[in-house]
């Protein structure tokens, strides 16, 4: 499977667009947490500082480091708003398939600029998050290696078949047939 390595990722959270709470643009103090989906096991996570300005288009430009254990299929990006009174409130989430930056045709240490649709707790669209991801190092079965130019692996077009949301809705995703282009 694509993710048989334990990887360390450098995720730069660049900016967000069009974020809303209760249909009004989020005022300030939004911050982002990035963590790997590790199927319930404890995992590392990292967060940005809250952006005190910029209404619905916050700009963080912050580098975060996250461990991606072998077997993880997604990294989870959560946008929250820090309020002095009510603590942290979850605004929106994006699930980023690891296959979007690992195991595609690009070299292991390629800097990927990715953007994702964010969805709120009800599963409704709530803005876009712009990040960049780079695999800093990967290790296989205990051997640690800094990522160098590994030959591209066989492409896997794995798309998530289902994702469960807090609201109980399930989204069906098309399953890809690899090697579609060979005559």
């Amino acid at each position: 499977m694509a993710n048989s390595h334990h990887r360390r990722l450098e995720v730069t959270v660049i900016s967000g667009e069009d974020l809303r709470i209760n249909d009004r643009p989020i005022k300030n103090n939004a911050f982002v947490t990035v963590k790997a989906d590790s199927c319930g096991l404890p995992s590392s996570q990292d967060s940005t500082k809250p952006d005190a300005q910029s209404e619905s288009h916050p700009c963080w430009d912050e580098k975060l480091h996250v461990d991606l254990p072998a077997g993880s299929r997604y990294i989870l990006v959560e946008v929250c708003r820090r309020t002095s009174s009510a603590g942290d409130k979850l605004v929106a989430t994006a699930w980023i398939p690891v296959s979007d930056f690992v195991g595609d045709y690009t070299p292991e240490n390629y800097l990927h600029f990715l953007s994702y649709r964010l969805r709120d707790a009800k599963g409704l669209r709530n803005g876009i998050i712009n990040i960049s991801v780079r695999v800093v190092s990967s290790s296989y079965k205990g051997t640690l290696s800094s990522s160098s130019r590994l030959p591209p692996s066989v492409p896997e077009f794995r798309m998530p078949v289902d994702r469960e949301r807090n609201g109980g809705t399930v989204t069906g995703m098309p399953v890809w047939y690899p090697n579609q282009w060979k005559s």
Binding site: I14, S15, E17, Q53, S54, E55, C59, A94, W95, I96, P97, D100, D104, Y105, T106, P107, Y110, L111, H112, F113, L114, S115, Y116, R117, R119, I128, N130, S132, R149, P151, P152, P155, M159, P160, M173, P174, Q180, W181, K182, S183
Partner: protein
């Protein structure tokens, strides 16, 4: 600027930053209402570009200066050596020569190095044929200004011709040609050689990225706080000011911090030139209230940044008050100087464009034997739409690809195997998908028409994925190749979602996709893929396109100006190339790899 054309209530557009926007990696994010798709070339020419585009003329591009020298010229004079002068022409589509300029006359030399330079604009999207004539100027004309000389009265020494792209793609940016007679008779006598050197006379590649914030701004709004934005202008010689950029509007904030502005030296002149910075309170009526202004040069702003000091705004004197120094201050949070290389800088350092073609073999084109078919090969030699598109794009790009090996595919046809393939090698070979040169593509296309049965449906997904695979894999070998996929199709897409997914996945790769629609189908759906309205493509997995990599044009669009509609597609390419390179901080190589 684009966003202001007659839209009274384009308040959102009016609030966007203009002129100093950063080249963000995310397509629609950083470029505001006034920037437009062509804004990647850099702020200062946006308005002028728009002016020309609106009138159907190609946008302004980089200026190039040609320097000429020759050696071993023929000796025409009896008593002394020849007195040579060079004239440079542009050969136009109809074959006529348009004079671009002349050098000065150098006395008594068969190996002249002329000082006079010839300027011309470099247009990536067209082939610029240059013709050079060398003359020996007779002694009796030596005091006549060069411009007034009648060439028919002078002695012709030799002619040479080349294409401008041949010169600029060389690392030395120089090309040496043998001179020959006017009738192209490769004469018995050696007429000497001519060397042409091309240079971009850009004063400096320096740009500054600067972040401003203010404190204690005055409140100009009655029921809420001011909505401030900054406008930066340059002081011109006549004493007036010329605006060069403005920040975005921050609502309701008396201590705003704006997004970083990126200004090139072409915009602000030099670091010592005075700049006027005005802070306005945004009003939807357009009548923005001045909060304060100050005058500083770039060097002063750098000092403010280093010393972490603020500069006070002033309110200019009016008829009922003196000039007031305000409590409001301007601070420079970040100040970063960087080098902005031009497209030609990359090209001459060895960066290349890899051209790939995909041809539509669906049944809707019509039986190729039928003269009505879009695939009909006219025995008289007249190109069909497919051949025209391949030639027009290929003949420009071929100069930027050193090995001239182009991947060529067909889709929607039934090949020898009997099954319909949506990505088969155009040359009919089972494993080699590359052909040699544009003529190789044309030959493979003609051959495929005999061997492939038109079928369907029209799917772009497989071809785009294949091109993305090529682009992604090439990064492992070297990151100096940028790929261009040309898809020529007659019909409407059947796999809209898969195509969008493939494009979103490819949007982070060094790839641009040009789609040409031939025939008379309704292509409105295709225009959705070309996200010029700012809406970023979204895939079915929630991923959004990193940048806009698609350009679409229907071939039947009316001819505008002197370039064909297909070549108009190419105009955006240098901008897309630069956006990709700059966001990844990939700079031109200083040395060619061995």
């Amino acid at each position: 600027m684009g966003g202001c054309l007659g839209f009274f209530s384009d308040v959102k557009g009016g609030q966007q930053a203009v002129g100093g926007t950063r080249q963000g990696p995310m397509g629609g994010l950083e470029v505001g209402g006034g920037g437009g798709g062509g804004g990647n070339h850099g702020g200062p020419n946006d308005a002028v570009d728009h002016f020309f585009r609106a009138r159907g003329q190609p946008a302004l591009c980089s200026q190039i200066e040609l320097s000429l020298s020759a050696s071993k010229l023929r000796d025409r004079d009896v008593m002394s050596k020849s007195d040579p002068m060079a004239v440079v022409y542009l050969r136009k589509r109809d074959g006529m020569l348009e004079e671009l300029g002349r050098t000065e006359v150098i006395l008594n030399s068969l190996d002249p190095t002329w000082i006079g330079k010839i300027s011309l604009a470099y247009h990536f999207e067209t082939i610029q044929h240059l013709v050079f004539h060398i003359y020996d100027v007779d002694t009796k004309y030596h005091n006549v200004p060069v411009k007034m000389l009648k060439l028919s009265d002078q002695d012709f020494l030799g002619e040479a011709s080349c294409v401008l792209s041949e010169i600029v793609t060389k690392q030395s940016r120089s090309l040496t040609l043998s001179l020959h007679n006017k009738n192209s008779q490769l004469g018995l006598r050696n007429l000497g050689t001519l060397t042409i050197h091309a240079e971009e006379p850009v004063a400096s590649r320096t740009a500054v990225e600067i972040t401003f914030f203010c404190s204690h701004l005055e409140n100009k709004d009655m029921f809420s706080k001011s909505d401030p934005f900054l406008r930066i202008s340059r002081v011109v010689e006549s004493g007036g000011t010329l605006p060069i950029c403005k920040t975005e509007v921050i609502n309701n904030d008396l201590n705003p911090i704006w997004r970083p502005l990126c200004l090139s030296m072409q915009q602000f002149g030099s670091k010592e030139d005075p700049l006027v910075i005005e802070c306005f309170d945004f009003k939807t009526s357009g009548n923005h209230a001045l909060i304060g202004k100050l005058q500083k040069s770039m060097a002063d702003l750098e000092k403010l940044h280093k010393e972490r000091n603020g500069a006070n705004f002033t309110l200019p004197a009016s008829h009922h008050s003196h000039e007031k120094v305000l409590k409001s201050q301007l601070f420079v949070d970040q100040f970063c100087e960087k080098q902005l290389y031009s497209f030609l800088d990359y090209i001459s350092s060895g960066f290349e464009l890899n051209f790939m073609v995909a041809v539509d073999f669906t049944a809707s084109n019509g039986n190729p034997r039928n003269p009505d078919s879009l695939h009909y090969i006219d025995p008289s030699g007249r190109y069909n739409s497919y051949q025209q598109a391949i030639m027009e794009v290929g003949e420009v790009i071929q100069f930027y690809d050193s090995d001239r090996r182009f991947p060529a595919w067909g889709f929607g046809g039934r090949t020898y195997g009997g099954t319909v393939s949506h990505c088969f090698n155009l040359n009919g070979s089972p494993d080699g998908y590359e052909v040699e040169g544009v003529e190789g593509i044309m030959a493979a296309y003609a051959g495929a028409l005999h061997n492939v049965a038109l079928a369907g449906p029209t799917l772009f997904g497989p071809v785009i994925n294949r091109a993305a695979q090529t682009a992604g894999q090439s990064i492992s070998y070297d990151n100096s190749k940028y790929h261009i996929l040309l898809i020529i199709t007659d019909g409407v897409l059947t796999d809209q979602q898969e195509t969008m997914d493939a494009l979103v996945r490819a949007s982070d790769l060094p790839l641009s996709v040009l789609i040409v629609g031939v025939g008379t189908a309704d292509f409105t759906q295709m225009e959705k893929l070309d996200a010029d309205n700012g809406v970023r493509l979204e895939s079915s997995t929630g991923r959004v396109a990193t940048r806009d990599i698609v350009q679409f044009v229907p071939m039947r669009e009316v001819h505008r100006g002197t370039i064909s509609v297909v070549q108009a597609l190419l105009e955006e390419l240098p901008g897309q190339f630069l956006t990709y390179m700059r966001t990844r901080n990939i700079t031109p190589r200083t040395q060619m790899p061995l």
